[in-house]
């Protein structure tokens, strides 16, 4: 939208600028509650962990480049393998999707001025940062966990994993769980309460539906993990016997609890990618999504069915045949909502007029990889086949197609797509396309041969392999692919980093996007919208009349809310104007509280119970101070 601001609007915008102004410099970032700044902090922190996880992956591939490799050794391999999984899942994909994309974009897309709980939002970020540091303190003090990201008992019990490695893992995961739960609750309430008046629930963008589904999945999935980890730490620190068969405990209890969390987690990883895909596709094919309501329902169904399939991770454990068959059937049902979305994306692209710009290329790459990963998923849902390939590289191939190819490709496409919104500048298109092709080829070279080498019997999670089994050639291809992939990813980041400073200045809406975030300036002001936007459909940016009316409203001072730090709240389903909320402004307490909570975790790790209790008291004191300043609602 060309921003020809009416003259009468200028004093109003000045007033909003003053009301919403944040502190300058480092203190501004430390005390910020602005969802966009928090989103950017999430982004950079998660990308730093992506680099760490990537280095671990390259170490693994270098070790496996040739038979009898000596780069890592058995313990180093186990550390790299465990930290690669933990880092990529808990410190990269989840925080970058809900923390960075969700935080930055959901309030913009629904026409709100901030999240429902801005200070809690800041706390989520600081806890995530603290938890990430907590993990890597373990790594750099030589106490990395070695029992895998799945951390099966009894391997993870003190008998077989002495030393604090697994404690760093278990406490660190409970710690990140606090952050993810807070973000999830915040996103749900934001979407329920703060949609711009007129955006009834059926007009909410599909991106938001995906994030709503993810958030609900987090709320209900994480407690099972927390429970499993509590039991593990009780066993390890206090000598309890949850997982000790000799004392009446049970090792499969861990696997059940872990995968009750773990399978929904897979959809928590991939659903944001679905949301990003459904944002990018309509913009670049110039048409509305096919089967909008079905896709919205499918996104929610994926999250819901994800809770009923966990034992397909345990087909080789020896559960009863009836149980296995039930879970195999349930797993196949996932095909239905996934198929609805796949066909909707493909049909939208085929019936539109596609412009094959960088973001759309990543999405087409995603669709391709998701189809391959989905098809291999159907094969492993077949119990006898799964029992053959379990613990082989076939499974590694399957889940990397899904949670790397299908989940991370749209995230990278999304980085390109929203880059002009966040920075006001355009990335380099040619280099963007080249980075896609390099990553796509690298991805397939790395992971496709794993299907074959898996079928040939190469076991996963092993630090090396002998040279006379015919696996060497495939492993060489995989390792070369991994380096190509790393080069492709590096190209993405160099492109974006250079574009930050040198990219061409573009307007607010360079792609002709369909959702509201393109209506505001690039980058958006702290209050997002000078006037609360009018919404009458699911594609508000394509409703030119409404956007013109916004300008008239701004000139006449309607729906500007220039009296304070304010945003409107709407009714939950129909989004009728309900009340005006006074939102909290910057606060020093979220980072302080995160430090106090870190103290609890650190002291529990060190078994300093009295010191841990002191930190609990500190948390209470900080919370009391936090609530010393009351907005009208928070």
């Amino acid at each position: 939208m060309a921003v020809a601001l009416p003259k009468a609007a200028e004093p109003r915008i000045d007033r909003l600028d003053r009301i919403w102004e944040e502190r300058p410099g480092v203190m501004g970032w430390l005390t910020t509650v602005d969802h966009k700044r928090i989103g950017i902090m999430f982004l950079f922190t998660a990308l730093a962990f992506f680099v760490a996880g990537g280095v671990e992956a390259l170490l693994i591939r270098t070790q496996l480049l040739q038979p009898n490799g000596t780069v890592l050794g058995p313990n180093g391999f186990n550390e790299a393998m465990t930290m690669h999984g933990v880092t990529m899942i808990f410190l990269f994909v989840v925080p970058i999707s809900i923390g960075a994309f969700g935080n930055y974009l959901v309030p913009l897309m629904i026409g709100a001025r901030d999240m429902a709980f801005p200070r809690l939002n800041a706390l989520s970020y600081w806890i995530f940062l603290a938890a990430g540091i907590f993990f890597y303190v373990g790594v750099f003090t030589g106490n990395a966990p070695t029992a895998g990201w799945f951390d099966y008992v009894p391997l993870a019990e003190t008998t077989y994993s002495p030393g604090p490695g697994v404690d760093f893992y278990a406490l660190g995961l409970i710690f990140t769980g606090v952050s993810s739960t807070a973000t999830a609750i915040n996103l749900i309430v934001t979407m329920f309460k703060l949609r711009a008046p007129g955006m009834s629930i059926n007009r909410m963008p599909l991106f938001c539906f995906a994030f709503l589904a993810v958030s609900f999945a987090l709320v209900f999935a994480l407690p099972a993990l927390t429970c499993a980890l509590m039991f593990l730490e009780f066993d390890r620190l206090l000598g309890f016997h949850f997982y000790d068969v000799a004392a009446g405990g049970d090792t499969i209890l861990w696997q059940n609890l872990f995968w009750i969390f773990g399978h929904p987690e897979v959809y928590i990883i991939i659903l944001p990618a679905f949301g990003i895909a459904t944002s990018i596709i309509p913009t670049f094919v110039r048409r509305k999504m096919v089967a909008f309501p079905l896709v919205a329902l499918a996104e929610i169904l994926v999250a819901f069915i994800g809770f009923g399939v966990w034992a397909h991770h345990m087909f080789a454990v020896g559960l009863s045949q009836v149980t296995n068959v039930y879970f195999a059937a349930a797993s196949l049902i996932i095909v239905i909502p996934s198929g609805i979305q796949l066909f909707a994306w493909i049909t939208t692209i085929m019936t539109g007029t596609p412009r094959f710009k960088t973001p759309l290329l990543w999405i087409i790459g995603f669709i391709t990889l998701f189809i391959i990963g989905g098809l291999s998923g159907i094969t492993v849902a077949a119990i006898p086949f799964d029992q053959q390939v379990t613990d082989t590289y076939y499974v590694v191939a399957h889940f990397h197609y899904v949670i790397f190819g299908a989940a991370v490709f749209p995230i990278l496409g999304g980085l390109y797509y929203w880059f002009p919104k966040v920075t006001g500048r355009m990335y380099y298109e040619r280099w963007g396309q080249a980075s896609f092709w390099l990553s796509f080829i690298g991805m397939n070279l790395t992971f496709f041969p794993m299907h074959i080498v898996g079928l040939l019997g190469m076991p996963r999670r092993q630090w090396t392999y002998p040279g006379d089994l015919g696996w060497t050639g495939y492993n060489v291809i995989e390792s070369v692919g991994a380096y190509l992939l790393a080069a492709g990813l590096l190209m993405v980041f160099v492109n974006l980093a250079v574009s930050c400073f040198r990219g061409e200045h573009v307007g607010n809406d360079p792609f002709g996007g369909d959702t509201l975030e393109w209506a505001t300036t690039s980058p958006p002001p702290p209050y997002n919208y000078a006037v609360i936007p009018k919404v009458t459909s699911s594609y508000p940016m394509w409703d030119r009349e409404d956007r013109r009316e916004d300008l008239v409203n701004l000139a006449q001072g309607r729906k500007v809310l220039e009296q304070g730090h304010e945003t409107p709240a709407s009714t939950t389903v129909d989004a009728e104007w309900d009340e005006i909320l006074e939102m909290p402004s910057s606060s020093p307490w979220p980072p302080v509280l995160a430090i106090a909570i870190s103290g609890i975790f650190a002291m529990v790790l060190l078994k300093q119970w009295i010191a841990a209790a002191v930190f609990v008291v500190a948390v209470l004191v900080v919370l009391a101070a936090w609530h010393g300043k009351e907005p009208q609602e928070a």
């Binding site: 329920f192 709320v219 309890f240 609890l257 609602e633």
Partner: protein
Amino acid sequence: MEATATGSAARVARQRRAMPSGWWGMVLLIATEFTLFASLIASYFYLRFQNTPWPPAGIDDPSVTLPLVFTGMLVATCIPMFAAVRSVRAGQRWLAWAFVALALVVQATYLGLQIWLFVGDMNSFSPSATAYGSIYFALLGTHHAHVAVGLALDAWLLGALAFGLTNYRMIALRVIALYWYFVAFVAILVVLTQIYPTL
């Protein structure tokens, strides 16, 4: 729109058509905490079905009377919490304060008595000897921790209400009451699980 006086806070609440954000936040927190208790109770029965006899030889069946009586006490505090919400919506700040204070006294007594029982159990069987002991103490301990959090919330609320009634504190009272309804409901599930071997 800032509501600071007692009357205006009540007016804002009456005009609002949807539930406030704080209410939604608490509902979702309860959803996630309830799932945690569901996982704990499911684990209890999972372990129970791996073990016969339950409790293992050498451990007495759990006593029934005292835990049930104490739970009844805790559940009863839902009444003053509910009354406090009603009073505050009518703008009667000090009446609400008194109801919360009454609830706090009973809830704190409950926690004290439960800790006394907990320590007594610890002296008769250990959490680090059998899986039964492990899940028994983990389940009860998690529940008691939730009661302790509720006490801290009550204490903060009493302090805040003493300085006046704002819209923010009014929502706080509503959601803290909601938290206690949840804790009371979980208390029933936990006590039934606890005494199940004797039933």
